[in-house]
Amino acid sequence: MDLKVDARKCTGCRICEFACNYHQDETISSIGSSLMFYFEEKKNYYGMMVKRAKTLYLGRPEGEQLLKPGEQIEGAGASAKPILLRVACDCCEDEDDGPLCVRACPYGVLSLEG
């Protein structure tokens, strides 16, 4: 199973990041999340990145992309770099009621597939 992002439905509310942080370390914040919102504000260009165990998944408005270790995150800006240090998404396997980011998203953007 992998987390997928339907980026065109995303509104940038960012609660998924905070929900993931809560799953990872029981606090509300964004810095410990496996998901990361990246944003070029003046262009209103935004999407989500997911740190997976062996790859980095980019859910961008123009489509999905999978990067392997060492590959550049083209154009995602400096705000994208910290994701590489994050703990990988574990699909919330130990959460009884399902993945926290999926439950928190008000817009049906996120899903576990595969």
Binding site: C13, T27, G32, F39, E62, A78, A104, P106
Partner: protein, 419 residues
């Protein structure tokens, strides 16, 4: 009461006369008396009112899982009404403020030279801002983010209009203006405070069961009054905005954005420098602007201006758009558009059939300003009942004694102390 589930328990006092920062604790007594946001800024205003305080506060639920918990409040004496007003601000800025480690910021006195306040990681710096004094809001945002090396920095910032202490000025949240219709931007200008820059990487604790209870409320909101509605254009239709302005807005809308944890995307990003449908990252560097104040947009359209570009000019200059529309221009506007109220008149009295009269609206806005809930969502989501609020305050702070009577007292108190 478990304060650390809702607060970082710190008030920052910035003395611009002495160019010095100090902190004091946010005590349980203060939270019991005012809960948060405007409930506490109003008390701080009373305490410091001889020194012209400008107070920025986060609400009880700001930065938590509470649906709509995005908002903060700027409280000060309005240069328009001469009374205490509370202007909400959202996006991510209020959450960022709380996660800097400061729940409230009290700015006293005024500086003799332009300054900006830089709050990050529990630290506060009063930095020189001569390099950006006189620059427009967009240039100032870019320069501050570049200077501190982080494009996710959130800002409360003013443009040339507020620097000149115009009553038509507003403070801006990043590039995009604000709901400031009380000229609180001019209070920044009088203090020579160009900007407050925020970057917070701290965290809050979460009470057992609170996440699930908030998800349940979010689901109830999504399937309630807002169900089937989408974006700023549906709000505009509902509140009777002129059809031509709605058509203009709809034709330019690129995406609808939501503030932090908001289940309704009430901001429309409009593009006029490239096709609104363009989704590629490599497009125009500044393709358009983000509209939250639909009345401002409609007023500019009604004044015969190209509303998207006129909004951009207002944002750059830091001018309240309805005042610009009244003057028929977006530069050198000095007169305000109307009378400043205790809570921002940018928020409609009723959205999607929710309205129950003036007293109801005022109480919803007071609650939004105390709790840190998006003021638009408080109007459009009747699912956020007072009963629900009391239950979530109790759960969030593990505070069983909190009651509906207390909630009513706090809302009434904020209303009584404000314009």
């Amino acid at each position: 009461m478990e304060l650390m589930n809702n607060y970082k328990e710190t008030i920052l006092i910035v003395d611009l006369d002495a160019k010095q920062c100090d902190t004091e604790s946010l005590s349980e007594d203060m939270v019991a008396a005012g809960l948060g946001g405007a409930g506490i800024t109003a008390a701080l205003y009373e305490r410091y009112k001889d020194r012209d305080p400008l107070i920025i506060g986060t609400g009880f639920f700001t930065g938590t899982f509470m649906p709509g918990g995005c908002a903060g409040v700027v409280s000060a004496k309005s240069p328009v009404s001469g009374k205490l007003c509370h202007v909400p601000f959202g996006g991510y800025a209020a959450v960022e403020l709380k996660l800097t480690g400061f729940d409230f910021v009290v700015v006293l006195g005024s500086s003799d030279s332009p300054v900006r306040l830089w709050l990050h990681d529990g630290l506060s710096d009063i930095d020189d801002a001569s390099d950006i004094w006189g620059k427009d809001v967009w240039d100032s945002v870019d320069k501050i983010r570049e200077a501190y090396g982080d494009e996710m920095i959130q800002l409360l910032v003013i443009g040339p209009s507020a620097e000149a202490q115009s009553k038509a000025a507003q403070f801006s949240v990043n590039y995009w203006g604000s709901f400031d219709k009380a000229a609180l931007g001019a209070v920044f200008g009088a203090k020579k405070l160009k900007a407050i820059a925020l970057r917070g990487l701290d965290s809050l604790d979460v009470a057992e069961g609170f996440f699930g209870a908030c998800v349940d409320l979010k689901n109830a909101i999504c399937s309630g009054a807002i169900s089937g509605k989408s974006g700023l254009k549906d709000i505009a239709r509902d509140i009777g905005i002129d059809a031509g302005a709605i058509e203009k807005l709809a034709s330019m809308t690129h995406r609808n954005n939501a503030a932090y944890n908001c289940p309704y995307a009430a901001a429309a990003f409009v593009k006029y420098n490239e096709a609104p449908s363009a989704m590629d990252m490599k497009g125009h560097p500044a393709p358009g602007c983000l509209i939250t104040d639909i009345r401002g947009f409609a007023a500019l359209h009604g004044a015969g201006l190209d509303a998207g570009q006129a909004m951009e000019q207002c944002f750059r200059q830091g001018i309240e758009p309805e005042a610009a529309a009244k003057a028929g221009k977006t530069e050198g506007v000095s007169a305000d558009a109307g009378k400043a109220a205790a809570f921002s008149t940018a928020v409609p009295a009723s959205i999607f059939g929710s309205g129950q009269g003036d007293a109801w609206w005022q109480k919803r806005q007071a609650l939004a300003a105390v709790l840190g809930i998006d003021p638009m969502l408080m109007v459009m989501a009747p699912e956020i009942t007072e009963e629900k609020i009391v239950a979530l305050v109790q759960m969030s702070a593990e505070w069983d004694e909190f009651s509906a009577d207390e909630l009513n007292r706090i809302a009434a108190d904020v209303i009584a102390k404000s314009a």
